[in-house]
């Protein structure tokens, strides 16, 4: 455990000294503040600020996770500094988990900081804190838990940062439209084209990020049940665990 914590600390330290970390953070805060301008064009000021703000937090949390996962893991393999870590009494799974938890810590910090900025802005505009706002932020983090695990997995099997970032981005986009696969299957069956098993396999393999879109509920009477929240938590943790376990499996066989 101490070795995992040492790698977590080293990941955080490395990341916060990287220019991209501050660029992403600054960009996020700029978008959140600029949502004020857009809100003036609409009658529902707080709604616009909320939508733009939460959207920005999600996008930038995703970017921060993907750059950290690809930049740190793939970067370390490419520049061979990894050999000086693995030449010490460190198990390969300790390295992967250390990196993963480190990346999540950075993302959580980013999300909390940007959410804090957004809350301040909303309170100034007379908004009353809604529990579902906190839930929406928590669910953004659940998405990051999944995508970070996938980004590490992809980094281990791809050959360049560009292909790694592109593949992770592709999965992120697909994860938001997986429900459309069901509809596609329905349409294809009606036309006599049977690829149901194939589509079902893709549907269950891809992460379903639509489960986590709580921000649409904020400000409306509809609410989420405790069971749904628990199920989404279990889903993200299970998905991320399987992806990280696969990363450990691949990494254990890697040569440097």
């Amino acid at each position: 455990m101490k070795k995992i914590l040492a790698i977590v600390e080293y990941t955080v330290k490395e990341n916060i000294r990287h220019k991209i970390f501050y660029t992403i953070l600054l960009f996020g805060l700029v978008i959140i503040v600029s949502s004020l301008l857009f809100s003036m064009l609409s009658g529902e000021e707080t709604r616009v600020i909320l939508d733009i703000g939460l959207g920005a937090i999600e996008l930038l949390a995703f970017l921060s996770a993907i750059f950290a996962a690809v930049g740190l893991v793939l970067g370390e393999m490419e520049n061979r500094s990894i050999s000086l870590i693995l030449a010490r009494p460190v198990r390969r799974f300790e390295y992967i988990w250390g990196r993963y938890v480190g990346i999540l810590s950075i993302s959580l910090f980013n999300i909390l900081l940007m959410s804090f900025g957004l809350i301040i802005l909303l309170l100034i505009k007379g908004w009353r804190l809604d529990f579902r706002f906190l839930l929406a932020v928590a669910f953004i983090f659940l998405k990051v838990i999944i995508i970070s695990a996938l980004a590490i997995l992809i980094s281990l099997i791809s050959t360049s940062a560009i292909s790694s970032i592109s593949a992770t981005f592709f999965l992120w986009v697909l994860g938001h439209v997986t429900d459309h696969l069901k509809y596609l299957n329905h349409v294809l069956v009606e036309k006599g084209i049977k690829i149901t098993i194939f589509l079902k396999a893709i549907y269950y393999l891809l992460p379903n990020f639509q489960y986590f879109n709580v921000k649409d509920y904020i400000g409306y009477p509809a609410s989420l049940s405790g069971t749904t929240i628990l199920w989404q938590l279990v889903y993200s943790l299970a998905y991320a665990s399987v992806a990280t376990w696969l990363s450990v499996l691949i990494f254990s066989r890697k040569e440097f």
Binding site: Y10, E14, S81, S83, R88, R91
Partner: protein, 244 residues
């Protein structure tokens, strides 16, 4: 005399896959080697002779295709052995955002040293490689020679019994080479076992007890340097020229 390193039929074949087919490169072939505890053993060979591959196999960064290796009687790879080994790659790469002190503290944590123990070891090691004054400088600001020295510092941090040094003098200026030689000789006096790879015959001749000449992945000759009456350079050239 105890055997520090023993390899039995150690073979490493790299397979590079292409779209149509694959390419096979034999880096090490059926290597049988024994290195006694407390000796300085030099691996001499041309580029691509398999020196780096052997060191990486011993430290567990590569896995053998066939055969096996033992260090202090334990089959490699073995996690507990890594606390007893210090490894210096040919071109040591670090996280350039960290300072000299931070990187050594990080490695110290991976050995499980306490804070107090780490402080002591980091200070001592930085002193040994003349980088005490630069302890709070980022590695990104270091010169090539300073990075080589921090490379040696990370080897010495945990006071290992066995040192695996891959081309330890490559990229060093004459003063750096002299310093490295002195460090190796001091470690030899302390009874440490050292396996170093090089293609500089004169450097190997100055510090080693025994030399193995590797050529195209095969151990061609083992030479005891004490009492050697012919020139090592001549012997090396003759050995590698036989098949060139």
């Amino acid at each position: 005399m105890m055997i520090a390193i023993r390899t039995e039929g150690l073979t490493k074949i790299y397979r590079r896959k292409y779209l149509l087919g694959s390419k096979k490169t034999i880096a090490l072939e059926n290597l049988n080697l024994e290195i006694e505890d407390g000796k300085v053993y030099g691996l001499l060979g041309l580029n691509g002779s398999g020196k780096t591959t052997l060191l990486k196999l011993l430290v567990g960064l590569l896995f053998p295709t066939k055969g096996c290796a033992y260090i202090f009687g334990k089959r490699v790879p073995h996690l507990s052995l890594l606390s007893r080994i210090g490894y210096l790659p040919e071109f040591p790469c670090f996280l350039m955002y960290l300072t000299a002190s931070e990187i050594l503290h990080f490695y110290g944590k991976l050995y499980g040293f306490s804070v107090k123990e780490r402080e002591k070891r980091v200070e001592r090691t930085l002193d040994l490689v003349d980088l005490k004054e630069n302890r709070n400088d980022r590695l990104a600001d270091f010169s090539k020679g300073m990075l080589e020295r921090i490379g040696m510092a990370q080897v010495l941090l945990h006071d290992p019994e066995l040192l695996l040094l891959d081309e330890p003098t490559s990229g060093l200026d004459p003063l750096g080479i002299k310093k490295m030689r002195q460090t190796i000789l001091k470690l030899k006096e302390k009874g440490r076992t050292i396996l170093l790879s090089s293609h500089f015959v004169t450097e190997v001749e100055r510090v080693c007890d025994q030399v193995g000449i590797l050529h195209k992945g095969k151990l061609k000759r083992v030479v005891e340097l004490r009492g050697l009456e012919v020139s090592l350079e001549g012997l090396f050239v003759d050995t590698v020229s036989e098949e060139v």
